[in-house]
Amino acid sequence: MTDETAAMAEGGNSARLLALHRLMRRIRAFEETAVAAHAAGEIPGPLHVSIGQEAVAAGVCLNLRRDDRITSTHRGHGHALAKGAGVAGMMAELHGRAGGHCGGKGGSMHIADFTAGMLGANGVVAGGIPIAVGAAQGLRLLGSDAVVACFFGDGAINRGPFLEGLNWAALFRLPVLFVCEDNGVAAFTRAESTTAGPGAAARAEALGVPAEAVDGNDAAAVDAAAGRLLVAVRAGSGPRLLHARTTRASGHTSTDAAAWRTAEEVAASRARDPLSALEASMLRQGVAAEALAAVRAEAEAEMGHAREAARAAPWPDPASAWEDVQDSGAEIAA
């Protein structure tokens, strides 16, 4: 049991733990369902899942309001679900079916639900960073007190937009929480072999963005840290960065075996599974095993139904490929 989890339980915050747990179970179930559907040939395209990283999405987004915004990555299902994106629309989108949030035009890598403040996954590493800072600047101009959470991986901190975006956010004191979801690996290459210096938090500080590190596999700790940082962000103190160390349980995509990892690494990553840890701690606090199992079953059923619905949905009308490009000149696009 971590300090944070204990503190939460003591503080009568077991409802919070239950919320975290439910959310993480739903993310896990969504992605396991998607992996199965992909393996069955029902989901096309590359599928990047965040299994093993659910605590970050859940812990951060539980601290966000519906009118807050997030930007995400190629590995964005968890962020989207945690921000409240509709499951049916997400699952249909992954399947490329009508009824998908993006009408089948985006797929997993471009999942978005603007009604939930989810401004989009992104096929470009670090692509969401400038968008997030601009969204925050725009919100302020509009007089809104909403904030933006910007998720990116450890690989993204080696791309230029990381520097530019953080400097910019600090300069204009924008309400952005940057979340570096550090799973220690970018595609097939270990982070330590591509990242010099002390890492994301130090880089942020050097750019004028106060940073905090957290165990990204401890949901309660992420929740608490994100909550603290978001108080500052919301109060107008400018941006903050949360550096969450976590674990990518499997390969880069759902079909990548990541065979280059040592057996110890795989075992170590399994042992750090954030859902097992959370459940173990909840059990120790007296939550009934049946209750946890029920949440899991419910989540799996929800996602199973979503998969069935997606599978049953029609394909998008081929003519729709010509739509949603732009208003001007649309009539002569062919």
């Binding site: 035009k105 603007f114 470009v124 692509g127 400038p130 230029g160 937009p161 490009v325 001007s328």
Partner: protein, 324 residues
């Protein structure tokens, strides 16, 4: 109507729209100091630093932040200073801005403007003189405008700011200080409508942006020699006024496209190919493009001059087409 410079015309257009709509704002390097060419003079003073934002030299973020700000409902005018620096922000422009509406199935409406002064100007050399507007005609998801007169620059900028599409505005640096009438109330000028600069029956001459004055001079010289040039200033490259060009070429039978850009795979190729496709080769007597050779823009004035598409070169090409 007052006569103003092209740079002042765009300033008036911007100020008018910022007064009309509090969601409109501008961001870019030195914008709060009036911009590199004075296009933003007085904007800080009137609208404050939240709406006249001088940014770091961070082109990726200038472009990408503009997009983010559009996604939450503001209407940013993104200033790129010189077109060539847009190449530092191409992921944000081509992968993000141009595609987000489509990728999200229409959820996103990136209503934004990107201003990119382009072209040769006073020996600025290879990294400050490019004209790559053809690239963006080829890129789905964006509107491409390239005006040549103060009135058109103002009207198109108003249209760009009011449009829900991302609109790329190529402003001709070489014509910043050319003068023309601009109405007190600037109406939006619809995209995709060419301007007939001069009427004539012998040859259709298609141009845009900085080359318009050279084409006008060439057309006048040709008129003196008894040759009627139907001169069309496209004003926007996407959408572009296919119908107007087509009607003209159907009449004259001859198409000459002159461009301040490399000829190879330039927008002139699209105009030529499209006209031949639409009319059929049988209805076209001659087709020719004039533009730069496939070389970067050099520094020394005589080298710059060697590349230029001059009135003389246009006259020569037109005469060869009509008499030849």
């Amino acid at each position: 109507m007052p006569e103003v410079t092209l740079v002042e015309a765009t300033r008036l257009a911007l100020v008018q729209e910022m007064r009309r709509d509090p969601r409109v704002w501008a961001l870019g390097e030195d914008v709060a100091r009036g911009g590199l060419f004075g296009q933003y003079r007085g904007v800080l003073e009137e609208f404050g630093e939240a709406r006249a934002v001088s940014t770091p030299i961070s082109e990726s973020t200038i472009m990408g932040a503009g997009l983010g700000a559009a996604l939450v409902g503001t209407r940013p005018v993104i200033e790129m200073r010189i077109f060539d620096f847009t190449l530092c922000a191409m992921d944000e422009l081509a992968n993000q801005i141009a595609k987000i509406r489509y990728m999200t199935g229409g959820q996103a409406r990136p209503a934004l403007v990107v201003r990119m002064p382009h072209g040769m100007w006073r020996s600025s050399a290879a990294q400050h003189s490019q004209t790559l507007e053809a690239w963006f005609a080829h890129l789905p998801g964006v509107v491409v405008v390239a005006p040549a007169t103060p009135a058109d620059a103002a009207g198109l900028l108003v249209a760009a700011i009011r449009s829900d599409d991302p609109v790329l505005v190529f402003e001709p640096k070489d014509l910043w200080h050319s003068v023309g009438p601009v109405p007190d109330v600037i109406e939006p000028l619809p995209f995709g409508s060419a301007r007939r600069v001069r009427e004539g029956g012998d040859l259709t001459l298609v141009v845009w942006s900085a080359l318009v004055p050279a084409a006008e001079r060439a057309a006048a010289a040709l008129a003196e020699r008894g040759m009627g040039v139907d001169l069309l200033d496209l004003r926007s490259l996407w959408p572009w006024d296919e119908d107007a060009v087509c009607a003209s070429v159907a009449r004259t039978g001859r198409l000459l496209v002159a461009q301040e850009a490399v000829t190879t795979a330039g927008f002139g190729a699209e105009v030529a190919a499209r006209m031949v496709e639409r009319l059929g080769p049988g209805r076209v007597r001659a087709v020719r493009r004039l533009g730069f050779p496939r070389v970067p823009v050099p520094f020394a004035p005589p080298l710059e001059a060697a590349l230029r598409v001059t009135p003389e070169r246009i006259v020569e090409a037109a005469e060869a087409m009509v008499r030849g």
